[in-house]
Symmetry: C2
Amino acid sequence: MGQFDLHILGCGSALPTRRHLPSAQILNVRGKLFLIDCGEGTQLQFRHTKLNYNKIFDIFISHLHGDHCFGLIGLISTMGMLGRHAGITIHAPKELEMIMRPQLDFFCKELPYEVRFISFNPGVSEMIYEDRSLEVHTIPLKHRIPSAGFLFSEKPNERHVLKDMLDFYKVPIREIPGIKKGNDFMTADGELVSNNRLTTPATPSKSYAYCSDTAYTESFLPLIKGVDLLFHEATFSEEEKERSASTLHSTAAQAGRIARLAGVKRLLIGHFSARYMNDNILLKEARSEFDNVLLADENMMIEI
Amino acid sequence: MGQFDLHILGCGSALPTRRHLPSAQILNVRGKLFLIDCGEGTQLQFRHTKLNYNKIFDIFISHLHGDHCFGLIGLISTMGMLGRHAGITIHAPKELEMIMRPQLDFFCKELPYEVRFISFNPGVSEMIYEDRSLEVHTIPLKHRIPSAGFLFSEKPNERHVLKDMLDFYKVPIREIPGIKKGNDFMTADGELVSNNRLTTPATPSKSYAYCSDTAYTESFLPLIKGVDLLFHEATFSEEEKERSASTLHSTAAQAGRIARLAGVKRLLIGHFSARYMNDNILLKEARSEFDNVLLADENMMIEI
């Protein structure tokens, strides 16, 4: 079973409070850490996860509002002091590099590793990362500035072979990769053995969609259909619906509606406005639209 | 009695830990707040003081290492969202403006207040701030890059007038400002009344010196002589004396020695290396040189 854990480092909105920090999350995929957004204080919060800085792989920045990226320079600088050597790639809208280069040139002159910026166009969905077992696609969002969410999806897992049956049919080792992919098997006697006699179904692949910041829009529903976990911003309650619309944010009820329409398995809401002393009003509201809702909180870890 | 309180927002060194945040302090002089250094997380820590962002007057940046200034952009941006109108002045080595302008231009396009940068030359002591009751002078330090500490000194207070005596001698109101400054008074009958019959001594003026980051140097002793409170960095213990010397930091014993040689009233040590799980080793070491030592800690407030 592949590890696919989400750590919440910060789930507040632009104004930090005593309860919430700006946006940052870590997705731990079998020990590779992917950082999603990097608000001020990310490196401080990361310390609390007890995860290893050196395991941070790529960084994904949804949009260039400060509460989603002011923590980058501190994190990059600290990883340098800790002796990181592996390069790091930051996926972000294109202006980020222009803003960060002067800071890197000044503060991180002797950085022992390379920082690469790869820009994406937040207006279209594209695959921006791929490795042997994972793909990351952007999700165009609707916000005051160009913004994209991210869909992390495991590639299909292989079917589990039944060792007894392979022995029984004398399946040669060279055939096994094909059988794991679903091939049938022809014995030396010409008997066709159907794949489902040799294997059990693959572990379902996991998927996580991060959608923040965004106004209510059904335009990205096809991209997030059926995901195991959807993070959807829920900055406001329905009482602030006008403010939510004018700032291109969502209400908790809208987040719930998106989860229902997309048929996701679980919904996690966050990016809470500083005005809520108790976020349960937002939880209750989202649950009026969708049953399986979780309220994000700092230092929370969710197994997907 | 004038308020002259120091709030510690962060007292760790470059690597943040679960116990300490990077450098930032607030000096509250009768309700005017002066921010001294601004490491990442300053605005988050400021929330815990329950002080008012709008009362932040000038900002003083000792040197351009990230752990002393990465929190500026977040703080500036947040004060804008909170509707600040009063301009703010940042006193810092000259390169800061060049580094921050692109960030301000991008992230703070609609900032409702002005951010002014005034540079100082960390190599010489100069007065960089003055108001009716306070002066701030720089203190040249010895570090890997140009660095200056800051001496905050109240101007001499006025003598306290004895109302009964003013009535007895029928002192006209126009004479009172002079009498508060120490003038004698001539009655209508030509009798000379000595000032000390009309007043009691002024409340002593207070002073605070911030010296971080710096190697051990006696060169600034004359500037900090007899201050009420000295903050001197104590990154390392004597066991790390070589590392301390090579990185141009100080040991706790050296901080204590400076306090003793300068004849200060109290010493506050901070900027602790991440290696110390318990800072009491540093306290003990500083006390071997000087009696009146305090260990800085986050959220600590000291009345000077």
